[in-house]
């Protein structure tokens, strides 16, 4: 047996070049366009949102100052804010003849006082 008979040459099936050309054409037609431009708008929005979040999260907010400015019942109870009624006093003659009554309201930011006279 010779090495030639051990390695007999086969003939490839016909039409190989045409098939290769078709495959190349299909590949070219199906080649995706650059994908990154499509991400630019989405990326810009995401970046802007991330920046806003970072800025907001990093702002130094003093919780006590916030509580004081809010001044709700809870903050008053905790001693962080004064009761709105503390600041309200009658002046002058009214102090002798009047009375101040706080009217309950549903909104902690709103304080309504009723002033009555004793005369």
């Amino acid at each position: 047996m010779t090495s030639r008979s051990v390695f007999p040459k086969i003939t490839p099936p016909p039409g190989g070049l045409d098939r290769l050309r078709r495959r190349m054409r299909v590949r070219e037609e199906a080649a995706p366009r650059a994908w990154w431009p499509r991400l630019v708008p989405v990326g810009s929005v995401a970046l802007a949102a991330a920046i806003v979040l970072i800025v907001v999260a990093r702002r130094n907010v003093d919780p006590f100052a916030a509580a004081r400015s809010f001044g709700g019942p809870s903050e008053v109870a905790l001693g962080l804010a004064r009761s709105p009624s503390d600041a309200v006093t009658l002046a002058g003659e009214s102090r002798e003849t009047g009375a101040l009554v706080r009217v309950p309201t549903g909104d902690p930011h709103v304080a309504i006082y009723m002033v009555g006279t004793l005369e």
Partner: protein
């Protein structure tokens, strides 16, 4: 030979010329891994498509070696996968297709073809790639060495070892007369 002086990047016409030049040789090489002419041609085409897909970075001067290397690697991978699938009964190595009809010489009987195939199959990968490339690619040892990334001397010694093993398996082997 493809003219490498005009441009560095591989163009379509160059690839087609390469295909015409190399198709039969690469199919013959790959055939010794998959034992199916159709599958060998598929793998050859896959190798060309792979090289085409990376044409921007391909050095035209070494593209032939790259095509052979790609095809041999693909064939080897395909064979390995088949063996793996075969373990689970999902696939088997294809039977030789029309081997008796395909060779130009037409000397092989079905029995001797099977013996030859078994002998080549029994060669380790590194011996098989050397002996198949040296017998069928028509490339000098230097270029086979470049394809397989081994020195020229190693190509010669592996070829001798491979032929010796084939001779043992087939009960003698003579060098073909030119």
């Amino acid at each position: 030979m493809v003219d490498t002086r005009e441009s560095a990047a591989l163009d379509e016409a160059q690839l087609e010329r390469l295909y015409v030049k190399l198709e039969a040789r690469i199919v013959n090489v790959v055939y010794r891994w998959v034992w199916s002419a159709e599958e060998a041609q598929d793998i050859t085409q896959d190798a060309f498509m792979k090289v085409w897909s990376m044409r921007e970075s391909v050095d035209v001067a070494t593209v032939e070696a790259l095509l052979y290397r790609t095809a041999v690697n693909m064939a080897s991978n395909r064979r390995r996968k088949r063996k793996l699938w075969g373990l689970f009964g999902l696939d088997t190595i294809a039977e030789p297709t029309s081997l008796a009809a395909a060779p130009d010489e037409g000397l092989e009987t079905a029995r001797s073809s099977a013996r030859v195939r078994a002998a080549i199959d029994a060669l380790p990968e590194k011996l098989r790639s050397v002996v198949v490339l040296s017998e069928l690619s028509e490339l000098p040892y230097e270029e086979i060495g470049a394809i397989l990334n081994i020195p020229e001397g190693t190509v010669a010694s592996r070829r001798n070892t491979a032929l010796k093993r084939l001779a043992e398996a087939l009960g003698g082997l003579e060098e073909a007369s030119p």
